[in-house]
Symmetry: C2
DNA sequence: TTTCAGTCTGTGAACGTTCACAGATGCTTC
DNA sequence: GAAGCATCTGTGAACGTTCACAGACTGAAA
């Protein structure tokens, strides 16, 4: 349990001064090759590892960013997409030696904690996930002036918080266009909550293709849960029994819709075609497997990280990134 | 962009010394009510928030713990259980003002990064997730002497790394017993990888009930993926066409097994009963919905955090915690 | 030869806390 | 009235870095 070696110890072993060691550590210019080598050797010999707290104290940088999970409903519970996001972001940040701190913003108490944390300068940046319209956390972030990006647009704050996202609108168009091309005539949709980009934009894409045919009667709203999808489908069937296709804004809700259709005695895809969105693991476990829209989630995460790093590095302004989606045809259509 | 207020500013406003403010901040004994109130008021007035880096520098504590995701295969991708774990752990730790830093240990490079991070004293504790037998990270942790716990036993290191887990073995017994009671005679199993506790212990529980009847022919191994479950089921059917039930060690693999059974023309549950494990979201999306074993994941996470906090607070030794599971009967059996 | 720019190094001060100590005050007890 | 204890407060030093500055050395240009 010997004391951890400090920069002084390294300096002593290398036969140089503290300043030179610091310069090596920070890749500063003006270090002679000899000194550089000696320091490297001394670091290896002593097993030195930098004390971030001490560095942070003087640089006012922390080398960490916060990922804030806003948690409307219990989405987090069920959505495997978070894992991809988390994993990719952690990886990319680690490459820059930046660590990812998790925080949850479920209620106002949580949100205050996040704000306090950031106001205290405990992180260099913020990575928002599934933040919904009107979240007052967003304004607090702007007020604090901390670098912030979001995965998926924050509705109403698109120009304030840069983001990367899949092209929800075009994805919905792809699916709707496909259903039309397959000869479906009465096409309904089950949307996500309209204060989320996935809710609003996928509905817009749907309407883009169908125009006047996208009547109110053929639109139902879900909450991204399987149960929500199931009851939305039931309501649709009651209101418009003659529908022959439905575009559901998430795979999980689509799984619920399949259950409702089965309960109503409709065959999929013969009587009703079902299209999902996400291409999550669920799309393969249902029977029949879901035709769906694949989002390039990994790339979304990477781009979001890239935007955040740019902001942290001092960029004044960065442009949102929108990435293309793919139609994945399986047996539900 | 005024400078952030420090403890000195608070002291000045409150009309006390730096030491007294520090005492209030740390709930020390021996602070007069008057001083306490004045400091509280000054903190509110100045908007002061503590600088953790400075504190950390002198206390040698960081106020953070690392969650290390070991990533054999692509489990993380598909397993929604991680979300529950992450969410619960983050919450519980936040209550103690400890923040959760994510790290991935997928390859040796990652592992070195984790080791270096911990050796540098950048975290007060470690929370291992899905670490598999023989992971050399575990020995490094012991060597460093950092407080460490695991979610789920680390096979071969049960006595070194305390853990909380669901009672995998008894859960498997519950399911197997149930299948026997339902009159099934030829019961097979699809296990997880045997270097994970869920793989080894669930197989043991299965064998506990069936005794000699648990013959090699009726045991197949999967990798916790849906595809793995599907091909394992196909192999089982080929080897033992007369099986009338199968206990699958995870819901996701069970979804794959259902697909294989359907492809082979077997009806579920009439011809073959299928039991899963986890009670994850998948269990409800399959057709028919899965009979499965529910793990108290939230409590597992809470207990794991509790163990970790105890170790951080200086406990010499803590006992592993094993929590009971529940049989959830649905339509697949 | 002098000047200058470029390269390299060492040093004091600062970052914002906590800790240990010393000292002051008030209350009890003899 | 002195001694002793508990309560409360202020202060210097320390934690391990980075930063800005000053100074030494080198080689090229004037």
């Amino acid at each position: 349990m010997a004391k951890r070696p400090t920069i002084h110890d390294v300096a002593a072993v290398a036969g140089v001064s503290r300043g030179t060691v610091s310069r090596v550590l920070n890749d500063d210019r003006y270090v002679s090759p000899a000194a550089h080598a000696a320091v490297k050797r001394a670091i290896a010999e002593t097993g030195y590892v930098l004390n971030r707290a001490a560095r942070s104290l003087v640089t006012q940088r922390t080398g960490s960013v916060v990922m804030v999970l806003s948690e409307p409903q219990e989405r987090l519970f069920e959505d495997p997409n978070y894992s991809v996001l988390l994993r990719t972001a952690t990886r990319r940040l680690a490459e820059r030696d930046i660590s990812l701190v998790m925080m949850i913003a479920g209620n106002d108490g949580d949100r205050d904690r996040v704000v306090r944390y950031l106001r205290g300068g405990h992180a260099d940046g913020v990575f928002l996930v599934s933040t919904h319209a009107g979240d007052r956390l967003v304004d607090a972030l702007v007020d604090i002036g901390v670098a912030a990006v979001a995965q998926g647009a924050v509705i109403g704050r698109e120009n304030v918080i840069p983001y990367a996202a899949a092209d929800d609108r075009e994805g919905a168009r792809q699916m709707t266009r496909y259903l039309v091309e397959r000869g479906r005539r009465r096409i309904a949709t089950i949307t996500g909550p309209l204060d989320t980009p996935g809710g609003a934009l996928r509905l817009e894409g749907f309407a883009d293709i169908l125009g006047r045919k996208a009547s109110r009667r053929l639109i139902e709203h879900g909450d991204y849960t399987q149960l929500g999808g199931e009851s939305a489908m039931a309501r649709l069937l009651e209101r418009a029994p003659d529908i022959d296709a439905v575009f559901v804004a998430s795979d999980l809700m689509a799984a619920g819709a399949l259950a409702a259709l089965r309960a109503a005695g409709r065959r999929v895809p013969e009587d009703v075609a079902v299209g999902g969105f996400d291409d999550s693991a669920v799309a393969l476990t249902t029977h029949p497997p879901l035709t769906t829209i694949r989002q390039p989630l990994e790339r979304v995460a990477e781009e979001t990280v890239r935007l955040l790093l740019a902001l942290i590095d001092g960029a004044e302004h960065v442009e949102p990134v929108i990435l293309p989606t793919d139609l994945i045809v399986r047996e539900s259509t």
